[in-house]
Amino acid sequence: MQWPWQKVETELEREVRHHLESLIDEYEKQGMTRGDAMRKARREFGGVDQIKEECRDESVWSWLTQIGQDVTFGWRMMRKTPAITVAAILSLALGIGATTAILTLADAVLWRTLPVPSPENLVEVLWESKDRPQGLYRGSSGSGFPDGAMRVADYFSTVSYQQMRTALAGKAEVAGHVSSTLASTSFAGKVAVARVRGVTGNFFRALQLQPFEGRLLVDADDNPAAVPVVVVTHRFWSRHLGRNSTVVGQAIRINNVAYSIAGILPQGFLGIVPGEETDIYAPLLQSPQLLGEDSWFRKASVTGESWWMQLIARRAPDVGENELRNLLDMPFSSSWMARPKSPEGTPHIRISEASHGLGSIRRTFGDPVWILFALVSMVLVVACANIANLLLARAVAREKEVALRVSLGCRTGRLMRQFFTESLMLAAMGGALSVGVAAILCKLMINLLPRGFDGMALTLEPDGRSLAATAMVTLLTALLFGLYPAWRASRIDASPALKEGAGSSGTASRRRWVPAKILVLVQVSLGVLLVTASILFTSNLNELVNRDAGFERAHLLLFDLRPGELGYKDVQLRQFYLNLEERLANVPGIVAVGLSRTRPMQGGGYSEDVKITGQPKGVSSAIHHSNSSFLSALGVPIIAGRAVTAEESRSGAKVVVISEDLVKELGLQSPVGARVFIDRDDLLVVGVAQKARYSRMSQSPPVAYVPFDYARQSATIVLRTAIPPLFTLSAVQNVVRDLNRDLPFVDIFTMEQQISRTLQRERLFAWLCGSFGVLALVLCVVGLYGLMSHTTARRTPEIGIRIALGASRGDVMGQVMREGMGLACAGLVLGVPLALYAVNIAEKQKLLPKGDLPYWTLAAAVGVLAASALIAVLSPALRASSVDPMKALRRG
């Protein structure tokens, strides 16, 4: 294979040879000897290589060969300073990689819009009130969150929905849905647990989605009398239905009810809640939640008293959000069964822009993501400062080379190109590495993110746009500072630089380091902030993980069973649970078998107002519907009275065990024997349990333990074991298989695993902050080391003179140390207020518990940085003190 520029080369050779041979022939004809003719011909022709060189300059391919030269030369220069090169490439890779990963997360959570036509017209319909609305609804299902003084909630009644939908016809399409639920499905003999969401018939019309195959749901489907149909997501279809388009029209069983598959959703559509993985959409009135034997939802759907569905709306492009809110407020307020008791408790519609989807992931992750983003930009600044510094150091070191080249006639443009090429090479290598770093970080984040048990799943793949954005910033830095030496070369006088020799000294060269010193200062002060943040968040997580749960957390095994979905009914369900309790209790190694409606430590759960007579205002309390041995299985001690007995529990006796903090909040003097009211039930308090956490390590609400309902469709089983819990696993599985072969286990975890899952947000945060801290520390050390070793290397002759004149090694070392540590300390001092300010913000955002100012943490961060700075400065200082004056002076 011959390249075009090689062809030019050989052609030129042939051409020259032809010319010379012709000349030689001519001279031979004139009677010269061959040798004389050859000599004369060469003389007449001139220097062959020189001419070739000139021709090469004229060649169309000259730029390419010159780039080749630049790259080769650049490579050689990079290998001459391997420390700087490696440090710069690593700084680039880590800076770009980490920022890209965070941007990807931010994009997935905050910025990615729903894959539907004009998502900007989608809104989430919520309501807000200052006080809890009294008497407007009996029961509710949905989520709420505080926003300043207002309470915001997302649940509505059927009546509200219908009135709003009718009133807004033509101006907005208002559609309803309920939160998704896990259900057992079976298709062509294959069983799978899937996440099913019930939606109104106009749901997909509001989203304006087009089916991938078949059809989507329509109004006629959302009718209890209609033939049951569902649509499935592309993902579910690919994973569980064999990716075959003939599934449309076929039957799928969901919780033992047959549905016909009407269609498949388009591939990109993953749901309306970021991170949620809904597999199947069913008509609201035929969704699994409503079809249950004694479904609260079904009862709720026919009254106006229960507020149970969530709303999403697509407004017409000409209807503004304010207009929409006013339009919705009217039908909303006229749909209530009763008038609100207080003006503060009157709910009003609140519209929330939903182009990015709805849901809590945005609320819980939104602010942390911004803070992570701020932190990562600081890391990026530190990384950029490093790159700038390293390239500056290299520029100074190469001043002599540049001066030489300029004085030999190298044009500035050519010089610029050389340095540009070198910077580009650095940037390209760093950039290539950063893709790998970003990919690894994304993978790690996915593993740290909540998933599965509450339906969260983010697709995090290093995003091209994020990568491009970060790469731009970093590469720009590299190029800018990489070109600096060439820029300097165009304005410095070559002769002093040449004369100065290897080591320049004096004030002129000191001033030269000013930009580099400022960069180190910035690095160190940001380093204080980042290291402080990393210590705070990791210790916060550590504290959370090791916090007293109120129960014995070792030797606990948890799993869910959903027998109701296989067609078990009242008596059968009851028998199933009784058998289960009995047989599990007989498994060797199992000490106690607890049954509960709410899975402990999973987040969420149930809460009700617990009241006592004479006090109209109840105490909001978490409810554990649990069997008699639940407390002993969990390991929560009874401190007064007794536990609920098995007979009471199985007969659904009106008894309750309440936690000690509930006793306190209710102000009960003698709790045992007292009567409390929970949702219209009048219950006798038989015992008081010690304070224990309910669903999260970060919260501890008061808890009421009411008897388990043995006719429930599903339950969480809590096993207290005497041996490591996983050793009992196969025996437990055998017991369940004996009861029913087709019953799938859902989420088997030990309590330790379960707890760590609820701390995903804190874990992710702590992990990311921790790695930012380490990253910042490494970058700071590299920056300081780079600067100090270069300044001392440049000052070798000066140091040689000092030593020759009688300065002791200690003096020299002290001077270098003072200079380096002075710089580091200035940065540390600047960093302290910065860190305090950041901690303040984190506390305001509730990412950290409010506490005393973290002086110890700050001191630790400053200490760590100072120690690292010392290490960074020590080696250049030692090198300076071991300078041999004779060698140094001769070299200068």
């Binding site: 051409e15 032809h18 012709s22 000349l23 022709f45 001419i51 000139e54 443009g413």
Partner: protein, 109 residues
């Protein structure tokens, strides 16, 4: 790449080469001999310096080249004027004539 400064000699060499190629295609050796002959050996140019000029002209698109058998039986690279080359030659000859007459006018004044 910036174009090289066109000093008198270089400009002149380019012009000479173009003029030499006017009658028809010629290889490098032929061009050199012809220039030597026609300039009555006054112009003392090393023959090799012809090649950078030829390559430059080729890059500018004023001449084109192809490999052919020369009268000696060897393969040689023949250069020929392109259309733009011919136009350029005409322009430069005119320019040269004006320049020369201006010089003449000054010298004889």
């Amino acid at each position: 790449m910036t174009a090289k400064k066109s000093d008198l000699l270089q400009g002149t060499l380019d012009l000479l080469v173009l003029k030499t190629l006017m009658p028809g295609p010629l290889h490098g050796y032929g061009i050199a001999q012809k220039i030597l002959l026609t300039s009555k050996q006054v112009l003392d140019v090393q023959q090799g310096s012809l090649y950078p000029a030829l390559h430059r002209l080729e890059k500018k698109g004023l001449v084109s080249s192809e490999w052919r058998e020369a009268e000696s039986g060897r393969m040689a690279k023949f250069y020929a004027l392109t259309r733009t080359g011919k136009k350029q030659l005409a322009d430069e000859l005119e320019e040269w004539a004006r320049y020369a007459s201006a010089i003449n006018w000054v010298l004889e004044a």
